[in-house]
Amino acid sequence: MKRYTAQIALIVALAVSMGISFASDSMDAYYLDIALNVGINIILAVSLNLVNGHTGQFSLGHAAFMAVGAYGASIFTLEASQKLIPLLGGPSAFANGTAFCIALVLGGLCAAICGWLVGMPSLRLRGDYLAIVTLGFNEIVRVILQNTDSEGPFGGPLGLKGIPPHTTFFWVFAFAAVCIYVVASMVNSTYGRGFLAVRDDEVAAGSMGINTVRYKVTAFVTGSFFAGLAGGLYAHLRTTISPSGFDFLKSFDIVVIVILGGMGSTAGVIAAAILLTVLNEFLRDFEQYRMIIFSLLLIIMMIVRPQGLLPSLPFFNRKKSA
């Protein structure tokens, strides 16, 4: 049975999020909001970790994929859901849920396609060059969205509003669980060790038969997909989105989570996502001192725990070799 721990954990996670979701109506709206934020940040950070941590590519543009997913999913919900829901058997919990799920996945796919388009030419760049190109892509996405027509489908600088609040506990944590499962089982397999090999030494990886480009693109596209998904969830949680919410500073936030958690450590990154999201709320009471405290914590944390919160703690325990 031990072999299937991962699958069982996934199913349990799905069931638990479903259960909590039913109870969430009676939860405090603010605390629920924090919880959902945590979940969304987990998806963002775990997926970015696949790119930055496991594959060793340095992307600074995760928020762009989040934006693409957020806009994609929202536009689908705003424009097409109404037509789709009757086809699914009228407005019922099931039909609404399915339509939302389709919107999210669609958003994810849009982001994945963008990820592919950006990744193909730019992944041959190394280190900081890739970082700046992804950061550039991030800004380009924002600028393009900002310059769309205010009356058009993208809403110009004001963005989209009136997005229905479909995001529930279940959707966030179900997708977070799926994301963790996918990333962790991708990396912890013989196939997935290729990601780590590419990170450590691309030339050697190539000489060991590893198609480095394919791996990098796979990581990038998968990461983008989940970022897009998270974007969709975010849009349907906040109900309004605007381009400036997805600028490169947002990407920085996600990178901070990843590095604080420990590059390449899924568990660490999850811990960091929780910690930073909650810390952010906790620091609110400090008003103008908040960011000063936050930045100091960041600097101190890097000095005292440079290897991250939970370094090199593999998510699935490797079977001990004989």
Binding site: D28, A29, Y30, Y31, D33, I34, N37, V143, Q146, N147, S150, G156, P157, L158, G159, K161, G162, P165, Y234, R238, T239, T240, I241, S242, S244, G245, E281, R284, D285, E287, Q288, R290, M291
Partner: protein, 364 residues
């Protein structure tokens, strides 16, 4: 800088009415947020000094959204569910008000935005109000004023990052070109830019009679300086986004003879306004700008409505706010229409001898 608000986390008890406020106290638009917060706080202090409302003291809980989109919604939720606020004030920026509005609406907490001028803000529902005019109106005012000056050829310079500026320019363009004017050049920039020479050179080539610069004062001041450097002498015209202390400090001589529309003029001789200006100056050391006045008015209208409703329950308070009619605020006579927007006149101000002076009032 603003002091830490002392009532943080104060829980509701039978002797206080808790009011929430969302403002950008830090980050890129902190100047607006801090001004409006100062105004709001002043209103609260005054009402408390006068014995409070319904026999209770008002407690204001302010949350900072760091000028970041995405944060305003969270803090609105926090205020509603944690601080159990009875009403919500804020935000200055429309995109943030748009995040808060559906939350306030869903929770049945009346919300008054002091200065969000985007038309869509109050569309969220019947709990969402504003006490300022809206972008289309201000853009139109700019156009009416320009036409009245006999300017037939105008260039538009928009901050394409700011929905506010885009909205003003849209309205201006529509009105101006259907009423006999020609827009001879359109240029844009992004908030935070410092160099406008390229845009201005292009505009100079079109030889306009005036430039409608719909952005905020931070950039407008630099635009004016650079325009003069390039030898452009025609006046600049803008909206209430120009209102800020550093417009003249930075713009200096370059601002001479430029015009902008605003909610109020702190030069206004009416005693109510002068008293407000005096009190504000005593407390903060600077003259109040429009954001401060609007922050003050938004709180005062809320208090007035609470008084009239004699209740802080959502529906009753909502109806009372909606019934606001001819309220004499610092920023003019305020009447809320069926769309929960304020129908107010705008004043046109001009810079003369290094001072902002009142020129005329344009009614809706």
């Amino acid at each position: 800088a603003v002091g830490l608000s002392s009532c943080k986390g104060k829980k509701e008890d039978e002797n206080t009415i808790v009011i929430g406020e969302v403002a950008s106290l830090t980050g890129g638009t902190a100047n607006f947020g801090q001004s409006s917060h100062n105004g709001t706080q002043m209103a609260v202090d005054e009402i408390n000094a006068a014995g409070g409302l319904l026999g209770k003291q008002i407690s204001l809980v302010t949350e900072d959204d760091q000028s970041k989109n995405g944060e305003a919604g969270i803090v609105a939720k926090k205020l509603i569910s944690r601080s159990k606020i009875k009403a919500l004030l804020g935000e200055v920026s429309s995109s943030k008000s748009l995040e808060m509005a559906p939350i306030a609406q869903a929770a049945g907490v009346p919300m008054i935005s002091p200065a969000s001028t985007n038309a869509k803000v109050t569309e969220a529902g019947d709990y969402v109000f504003r006490i300022c005019f809206i972008d289309p109106f201000q853009g139109t005012v700019g156009s009416i004023f320009s036409l009245s000056k006999g300017w037939k050829k105008v260039a538009i310079l928009t901050d394409s990052k700011e929905d506010y500026s885009v909205g003003l320019s849209d309205a201006f363009r529509k009105h101006f070109s259907t009423n006999g004017g020609t827009v001879v050049a359109e240029q844009s920039y992004g908030k935070g830019d410092k160099d406008f020479k390229a845009q201005l050179t292009a505009i100079k080539g079109a030889a306009p009679d005036a430039i409608f610069a719909s952005g905020y004062y931070n950039e407008v001041a630099l635009i004016a300086v650079q325009a003069r450097e390039l030898g452009i002498t025609v006046p600049l015209v803008g909206g209430d986004g120009w209102d800020g202390p550093s417009l003249l400090e930075v713009g200096g001589k370059a601002m001479e003879g430029c015009y902008y529309s605003n909610h109020f003029s702190n030069e206004d001789k009416s005693p109510a306004i002068q008293e407000f200006v005096k009190k504000y100056e005593a407390k903060h050391g600077t003259k109040p700008d429009a954001m401060a006045a609007l922050g003050y008015d938004s709180a005062m209208i809320l208090f007035d409505s609470i008084k009239r409703a004699n209740s802080v329950e959502g529906p009753a308070l909502r109806d009372a706010i909606a019934a606001t009619k001819d309220y004499s605020g610092i920023t003019g006579k305020i009447t809320l229409d069926a769309q929960r927007n304020a129908k107010k006149p705008a004043v046109i101000l001009t810079v003369k001898d290094g001072k902002v002076v009142y020129t005329e009032t344009i009614a809706p």
